[in-house]
């Protein structure tokens, strides 16, 4: 029961923060020390991991071509799926990163009487993934309101759009609903779909459960467990953190520390887990290279020029007699070769 372990782990984290933050003096630990540590691990770890990747070269040009490449004038190139210029690569990567194009590619065929085949797309995974990632991004951006002052126009605009439906007070964020919905579906898929369940590891369930718990604690804090949740105090702490002058002067509800601790865990966990796909998606050589390897020479830094083919001279030496017999031109005539020998 791999997913059960993830639940236990997250419950343990919640207990640690919930109880720990109530011990006098520990607020500073949970409110300041842990977040600092987490963000340092996140940024440092992320940069470190990307640098580690960058240390290895891309020896060969190996784009996966998903359409017709650039060739003759009258053959139409599929510029997005088989890019040959940097601009086309950028377009391909953009669609890949922002619209998850590869996941969108799934098609299913159905045979009808006739027999006729029709195609429909099977795009649930794509939809859930898109929903989840975009709401996550929106939520991260939205939280910036707690970290910056004065708040720029665009941030208020995002906030406004996200709470467009004006449901309840404080207003319900659409992104919160989308995040929990998306994550529940991604999680449910891992449980219900037998082959996805079979390939899933602990480290697939854990981030899902963790992010779900983060969303849930956030919602609880915003709408339900409001005791000692005064956003002014919370922003004061957040602003203190980003201006390196953290202060905790007032009592803040335990739910806030739980939320913060879970976020810190996620940040610290991020660079050392599969969540690094956030950086990796930019660096995948099968996607971020132009299919121009015949038009432009790609350089492999560790290419060993000393590796030479079995030489023609050696080949001719071995088979000269037969070659001459068969009338195949040779570099050295039989007699000359013999003379040399």
């Amino acid at each position: 029961m791999k997913y059960a372990f993830s639940f236990l782990a997250v419950i343990a984290l919640i207990l640690i923060a919930g109880l720990g933050s109530q011990i006098p003096g520990m607020q500073y630990f949970f409110g300041v020390a842990i977040p600092y540590l987490a963000i340092m691990l996140f940024v440092g770890g992320f940069v470190y991991r990307v640098m580690q990747w960058a240390k290895s070269p891309v020896p060969f040009s190996i784009p996966t071509t998903c359409g017709q490449g650039a060739s003759l004038d009258f053959i139409k190139q599929d510029k997005l799926d088989c890019p040959s210029k940097t601009s086309e690569v950028v377009a391909r990567m953009f669609l890949e990163i922002f619209l998850f194009r590869s996941l969108f590619r799934n098609t299913k065929s159905e045979i009808h009487d006739g027999p006729k085949i029709s195609y429909e797309s099977s795009k649930w995974l794509w939809l859930f993934a898109l929903l989840f990632h975009y709401s996550f991004l929106l939520i991260v951006i939205r939280h910036m309101r707690l970290f910056i002052d004065p708040i720029p126009f665009w941030l208020s605009a995002i906030e406004g759009v996200d709470s467009m439906l004006q449901i309840g007070a404080p207003t319900l964020y659409l992104s919160s609903v989308a995040l929990l919905g998306g994550i529940a579906l991604l999680f449910g898929r891992r449980l219900v779909n037998p082959h996805v369940r079979y390939i899933s590891l602990n480290n697939d369930y854990f981030p899902l459960v963790l992010i779900f718990a983060i969303g849930l604690t956030g919602i609880l804090m915003r709408y339900f467990l409001r005791t000692n949740i005064d956003i002014i105090n919370i922003k004061n702490l957040a602003m203190g953190l980003v201006t390196f002058s953290p202060v905790i002067t007032v009592k803040i509800g335990a739910i806030f520390y739980i939320h913060l601790f879970l976020v810190s865990t996620l940040l610290a966990y991020f660079p050392f887990s599969k969540l690094m796909h956030m950086g990796g998606v930019f660096m995948s050589p099968t996607r971020n290279m132009a299919n121009d390897s015949r038009a432009k020479r790609h350089i492999n830094p560790w290419n060993d020029p000393e590796i030479k083919p079995h030489s023609y001279a050696g080949y001719e030496d071995e088979f000269r007699e037969f070659m001459v017999d068969a009338g195949i031109p040779v570099e050295k005539e039989l007699s000359a070769a013999k003379d040399e020998a």
């Binding site: 963000i39 996140f42 940024v43 992320f46 940069v47 990307v50 640098m51 960058a54 240390k55 290895s56 070269p57 891309v58 910036m144 309101r145 707690l146 970290f147 910056i148 002052d149 004065p150 708040i151 941030l155 208020s156 906030e159 406004g160 004006q166 309840g168 007070a169 404080p170 409001r226 005791t227 000692n228 949740i229 005064d230 956003i231 002014i232 922003k235 004061n236 602003m239 203190g240 980003v242 201006t243 390196f244 002058s245 950086g279 930019f282 660096m283 830094p301």
Partner: protein, 132 residues
């Protein structure tokens, strides 16, 4: 390290994005907003201060439903003074300066309540009373 030309700028953009609050604020934490207390000198609100700080929006919502939907328009009494439930009719009676009382904190936390789309601040209300 290979592909420095794209990876390093990429990482810089990433770090700038993550540390956005730090350089945006320029290490200035800004001043903590302090809502102005009622100019009329009232000391007591319908609920304790701590509760109001955290829950005023929920209280207003509750009132709204009481008044509009449940036909429960009971009057609130604070220190002997009676108020009809309602933003304009109760809250703004004491906290008559919306800019200094409400907006102060709301602007600080990017909360844009849609109350004022319809409800009139005392200032607005006064504006068109005079012209008449």
């Amino acid at each position: 390290m290979y592909n420095k030309g794209t990876i390093i700028p990429g990482l810089i953009i990433f770090v700038l994005f993550v540390t956005f609050p730090i350089w945006f604020n320029g290490l200035k934490a800004g001043t903590l907003p302090k809502p102005e207390l009622p100019p009329g000198g009232e000391k007591k609100c319908v609920m304790p201060v701590e509760y109001m700080r955290a829950n005023h929006m929920q209280l207003l919502n509750e009132w709204r439903d009481n008044v509009l939907r449940d036909d429960n328009r009971t009057v609130v009494t604070v220190e002997g003074k009676k108020y009809r439930k309602g933003l304009q009719m109760a809250c703004m009676q004491c906290h008559s300066n919306k800019e200094k009382f409400c907006d102060n904190c709301h602007a600080y936390t990017a909360v844009k309540p849609y109350c004022w789309d319809c409800h009139l601040t005392p200032k607005e209300a006064a504006l068109k009373e005079e012209t008449h």
